[in-house]
Symmetry: C2
Subunit: 393 residues, 2 copies
């Protein structure tokens, strides 16, 4: 497998590890399908609650179903007091993704059904996490800012309620609708790194809290969910349009990458960008501050041209590239962009944990347990002989 | 890949996902190799600290190196006060693995270097986790029991100190040495489920705390690290030798499995059992209570014969089968057996995170991002058309 005897690190790229009925990423056509629906159709038409229902129950809900589903989520939003007490022990400079990873594991402590690995218990735990992850993110932001957490408002939808809990006031309807659409298009993306982590942990018959906490660890990495925060930092570092071309040249000279450009799967463009780019422009126009949209669009155009000219590469922005300015316009702090990704993706993770543990013909899922090739040659071809400590050099 | 259009769930069995210099599981020869050394050679000769040094630094330490390494670990054992405060908020009936998964994520909050993804920062974080995970497990057991945590004793070795912190008194030398050997043989096991999770999370360039917290989620599953606890529950349920044969028959009749028998990789026996079985017997004899060893040995013999006779299958005990009675004789509560597994395996996880992020010729590791096959057929061969809610049925 590895003639150089180095580390392969091919990352299972293009290896089909399982089948799924949840979503399809059609790379060459730049399409993302949730349970049969193209996200280009869902974005702006369906709410996050409708899409979460679609992902978990395999169909868009009728009105009465949606009312029950959304009402169920709204009723689960509050956090147990001891969890708020635990958050209050955390240093104010803690990284929000670390807080969220810990909080999700702790939420298992408050679910008497967590130890049961049944479809019902997993669905109940997943619903609780879909409802509570936004509350954890907002509560942590308030606590670290020295402010009391804002209780969830059951009269608000899922998206609007998060912005309300974060800022202490309800967002205007257009911002709420845009944020809702952001959650819809981030809700699911097949076997990406964090979802694969969730499935893998679930395959050991660990519970949904353990699986989702693990997925959050995966999402925190800068090559995955951490990228949207880094796009914003990059825009802030570039700061003015005249510095874009030198920045792109510098990155290309050093063989580096530009955060938010390129995607492991989409080779001809990420369909979510078609939703986010106009949203960023509109939010900038409304705020009379198109600076961040303009910088993003100019960076895209400049980098595209430079990669084509210097490397003959067609490069496209991915979901993180325009979500950065969108969230910035919504007054979400940059270090919460990745937790906001989690607020959406928990719907997909829950669907995948359910599928991993309970779907399919097999009576029980097989644990993910790959093989590896041993390339250590510490004592030549044979085993090392134990040397007592006094004889070691 | 999947003609039935069901879920495959082959769990990557026998798929070589990467090369590694850390360890080798030689299935057909029933050998486990750490950095060139057969564990049959290390067990009883090397301490956990020596083996952790071997795993992290690729060689057994000379005396001065070991003193520095072990002294460094001993100095890192104490927990930050705010972490103890967070543990004190947790309900007493919380599952210890959930507590540990949360605590490891929270330890990142107390490491100012956690955000840096450098070899030095990862090694420092890993050392801190090797040192502190035993303290978290013991402190949580004391807190849930209404007792104050016992501070670590720097005069004691890693293994003895854990038993000291758990019980409030130092173990006798033979028990300490046996527990040390248990940690040695559990320290590493190639790409098993939790290690694969750790590597996968690390591949996103998440930090070592996020990676290890995720691995703990994986280890908590009953098909993985949770098995040793379940072996003990099974022995307690069987309770007397006369109930063994009916138990085995019942399991075979229902097509079920016996916890602790069989292994995904070792087909001819698990080499760690050769260390653990005599240890269990000796601990039983010393305690004048061979009941748990006897039950385990008789269950092994009975199940072996029954599987051979009824299914023509050769079945062997795995590491969990005898570790259950061993830990029980050491007065470790059954629901801490899996956390004790983690106390050992953190050495291997740290080595794997380092290898995933920093070893090899490639300038940066490839994110694990496998492919999947979409088998959803919600609207026939074409995409579903969005139906507005008022028209849904």
């Amino acid at each position: 497998m590895d003639e150089s005897k180095g580390i392969m690190n091919t990352g299972l790229r293009d290896v089909v590890v399982a089948s799924t009925r949840i979503s399809d990423v059609v790379s060459e056509k730049s399409k993302l399908i949730y349970r049969g629906y193209n996200i280009a159709e869902l974005a702006g038409k369906a709410t996050f609650e409708e899409v979460a229902h679609l992902l978990l129950h395999e169909r868009l809900p009728a009105k009465a179903e949606l009312d029950a589903f959304a009402g169920g989520l709204a009723a689960l939003r509050g956090l147990p007091e001891p969890l708020l007490a635990a958050l209050s022990t955390r240093p104010a400079d803690s990284m929000p993704m670390d807080i969220l990873q810990a909080a999700v594991a702790m939420l298992a402590n408050h679910d008497p059904g967590a130890a049961k690995i049944t479809r019902e218990a997993t669905l109940a735990g997943g619903m609780s996490l879909i409802a509570k992850i936004p509350t954890v993110v907002a509560a942590w932001h308030r606590i670290r800012s020295g402010l009391p957490p804002v209780p969830p408002d059951p009269a608000l939808g899922h998206a609007a309620n998060f912005l309300h809990m974060l800022a202490g006031e309800a967002p205007d309807p257009e911002t709420a609708a845009f944020f809702d659409t952001c959650l819809v298009i981030h809700a699911e993306h097949s076997f990406n790194a964090s979802t694969f982590t969730a499935r893998q942990v679930a395959s050991t018959r660990a519970h949904v809290y353990a699986s989702v906490s693990a997925a959050l660890g995966s999402l925190s990495g800068e090559l995955h969910g951490g990228a949207n925060t880094r796009v914003m930092r990059m825009l802030q570092e570039i700061a003015t349009p005249d510095r874009i071309a030198p920045y792109v040249d510098r990155v290309l000279d050093s063989g580096g990458l530009i955060m938010g450009l390129g995607h492991a799967v989409y080779k001809n463009g990420d369909p979510r960008v078609l939703v986010l780019a106009p949203m960023s422009r509109r939010l900038g126009e409304r705020a009379n501050d198109t600076r961040w949209y303009d910088l993003t669009a100019l960076l895209e155009a400049t980098a595209k041209e430079a990669f084509k000219k210097r490397k003959n590469l067609d490069i496209y922005p991915n979901v993180d590239f325009y979500s950065a300015s969108v969230y910035h316009y919504m007054n979400i702090p940059a270090d919460l962009f990745t937790p906001v990704f989690a607020i959406a993706r928990i719907a997909g993770w829950t669907a995948h944990v359910l599928e991993e543990q309970f779907a399919g013909a097999a009576p029980k899922p097989a644990l993910y347990r790959p093989a590896s090739e041993y390339t250590g040659e510490y004592c030549g071809p044979s085993e090392c002989s134990f040397v007592p400590m006094e004889k070691r050099e």
